[in-house]
Amino acid sequence: MATFNIIQALNDAHKIAMRADEDVVVFGEDIGYFGGVFRVTEGLQREFGKTRVFDAPISEGGIVAAAVGMAAYGLKPVIEIQFADYIYPGYDQIVGEVAKIRYRTAGEWTMPMVIRTPYGGGIFGGQTHSQSPESLFTHIAGLKVVIPSTPYDAKGLLIAAIEDPDPVIFFEPKRIYNGPFDGHHDKPVKPWSKHPASEVPEGHYTVPIGKAAVVREGPDLTILTYGTMVHVALAAVEEQGLDAEVIDLRTLVPLDLETIEESVKKTGRCLVVHEAPRTSGFGAELVALVQERCFYHLEAPVERVTGWDTPYPHAYEWAYFPGPKRMKKALEKVTAD
């Protein structure tokens, strides 16, 4: 089995999906000849030609709109928004069109497409290269929202997303493209090759959309998280010597509430972790659901560890990023008495 980082895994997923289905087309800013600023689409134009893999004008609205037209024709567009921070010019087309066309046409037209976009901080990108806007999409009925945290999942989820009949917003945690990240920014970066989930099978496989992964089992508390923060949470738990259950949601919509409920009912304690700002972040929804469903099992309030309610400040990257110290305090709080 090959050892892939997330970029390679995503690249491989594209190739497999494109070989299997001639209707898959890929476009976005700088994704053609150059292979994308993060190299995810490297080599695709060479293999599949310019009519299936091509550069797009710097118009996220136009990119999404063109994808809508193509999906209406019968193609399956897989488009890249260069950074999640730049998705907003396409927001009207995503919210009003991509998400609603199946519904408003009672299924006459469908919008199978994948909107891939790197998100999250930890790369000193400042406020327009670090955002985590997932909750702005989880609120929109008609969209599926997927976030992988390992090479294995990245490939399997991207193939699943391309094959999915519904539009999928596919957020890629760019901080861990090249290696997992435990939140200790001052320690050397680990490569993926040391991580078991970098073993990526050749060929076609899928990781089902809508299924969470229990990445660590334990009775002490349940941690709900996704993307980069899965690795930070796992490290924090180890450092704290806690026997926690860590759930990598992988899909935010539709959410695998069953797995969550089961775990929280077992542990009685829950911590929600994400990088996005706290207020109206996806964590709020998770907290609301957990307390609605597991109220009588909860031994302490569900806590949230999140980014602050400020823009992402360039120099204060590590004071913003919900790292080990913040994790530690929250873990103490949730597990207290």
Binding site: G61, G62, V68, L75, Y103, R104, G107, L257
Partner: protein, 422 residues
């Protein structure tokens, strides 16, 4: 803002904000005599394979075929046979009759909303005639003529308007937001402009697949100000997409006249120049000119000649919608004063001038259209009007959000069904 340069400033006049204002407001007597209307037949017709630049003089001209003497003249005369002309006339009359009936239905409380296209019937009807059935339209809410000309059943349109049991959109859309794949009519969006670049995407897909079908995207004069207009133009130009991009300039966007979208300084057709694509400005009240222009652009697109922007110059003769009363912002008599005439009258007179039509035939055809619309309405109303809807099949509300109903929607469905719909 420190050190202003006194030398430069001394002679600088005060800056002024220019706010465009229409020529006439309620109380004024509209007079369009200062509007230059080029004569029919004057505009040259470049070859469909001509460089885009060869069309650019046409972006400030006006392609017109039907002259004041009701004859078809000039290079753009599409030389249609009388049957085709009569079919277009009948479709236009049907559209007008349909609009009248449905407007009234809304006033009678049978539905929530309606939008007429009075005065603009030639545009959609002739465009439909000039394309083939399987070319794809991405329309706005004022191209009901496309559906009617393509033979979409009137009853189906009405069922959508009533959101009733016969509504294939299952009561989900505002009235007139039709969708029909079989008739090449993409789902209308309430968000202005979105369909314009979507049409380009569809055309790109057709080109990617080596198909021969083309797309036509529609937009209003007001909505050209949206970013989506620019996205459509840019993508069409960059990829040489086989698409016809139509701007229906009916002079008004609800209460705002076309100057608020930039028409004081340039025509909408002129936008083509800046993108290096073909552009035409066409008398939208002249069915033959509309037909000829769309046919030209279709031939061009179909032979990989790329996109054409067409401005249809027309006038929105009635209110924006049933929610609008235009007497609040323009003279009631403006529609009458509009110099390009009524598109139905013009086509009718042309047929009469050809000796292919007469008052009597027209009256009986109109009566036929009227009874077809009435029949359709009866059929549709048997399936219900809006106030009766929304009570049965509550569960359907949760379908088609996704291909399958996920657990959270299934839960919500159960709750909604048990509530019985309030």
């Amino acid at each position: 803002m420190s050190d202003k340069d006194p030398d430069l400033r001394r002679n600088a006049p005060k800056l002024e904000l220019h706010v465009p204002e229409p020529a006439f407001r309620p109380g004024d007597t509209p007079d369009f005599s200062s509007l230059t209307i080029p004569g029919a037949g004057e505009a040259p017709r470049p070859d469909t394979s001509a460089p885009a630049a060869d069309t650019h003089s046409l972006t400030t001209a006006l392609v017109r075929v039907l002259g004041d003497d009701d004859r078809a003249v000039g290079a753009w005369d599409p030389k249609l046979d009388p049957d085709t002309l009569r079919k277009m006339l009948r479709d236009m009359v049907t559209v007008r009759v349909f609009d009248d009936r449905m407007y009234r239905a809304q006033r009678q409380g049978k539905t929530s909303f309606y939008m007429k296209c009075t005065g603009e019937e030639a545009i959609a009807v002739a465009a439909a005639a000039a394309l083939t059935q399987d070319d794809m339209h991405f329309p706005t809410y004022r191209q009901q003529g496309l559906l009617i000309a393509r033979g979409y059943p009137l009853t189906e349109m009405m069922c959508q308007i009533y959101s009733n049991k016969g509504d294939k959109l299952r009561g989900r859309q505002l009235p007139i937001m039709y969708s029909d794949k079989r008739h090449g009519f993409f789902s209308i969006s309430g968000n202005l402009g979105t369909q314009f670049p979507q049409a380009v995407g569809w055309a790109m897909a057709s080109a990617i697949k080596g198909d021969s079908r083309i797309a036509m995207g529609w937009i209003g004069d007001g909505a050209t100000a949206e970013g989506d207009f620019h996205a459509g133009m840019t993508f069409a130009a960059v990829y040489n997409a086989p698409v016809i991009l139509a701007t229906v300039n009916n002079q008004w966007a609800i209460s705002s006249f076309s100057g608020i979208a930039g028409a004081e300084r340039a025509t909408f057709a002129q936008r083509a120049v800046g993108y290096g694509i073909a552009g035409l400005r066409v008398d939208g009240n002249d069915a033959l000119a509309v037909y000829a222009a769309v046919k030209w652009a279709a031939e061009r697109a179909r032979s990989n000649g790329g996109p054409t922007l067409i401005e249809f110059f027309t006038y929105r003769a009635e209110g924006h919608s049933t929610s609008d009363d235009p007497s609040g912002y323009r003279p009631a008599s403006e529609a009458k004063a509009w110099p390009l005439g009524d598109p139905i009258e013009r086509l009718k007179s042309h047929l009469v001038a050809l000796g292919e039509w007469g008052e009597e035939r027209h009256a009986s055809m109109t009566a036929e259209c009227d009874s077809a619309v009435r029949d359709a309405q009866k059929q549709a109303e048997k399936l219900g009007i809006l106030p009766e809807q929304g009570k049965d099949d509550i569960g359907s509300m949760f379908e088609d959000v996704y291909a399958d109903v996920p657990w959270h929607l299934a839960e919500q469905r159960d709750q909604a069904v048990s509530e019985g719909g309030e």
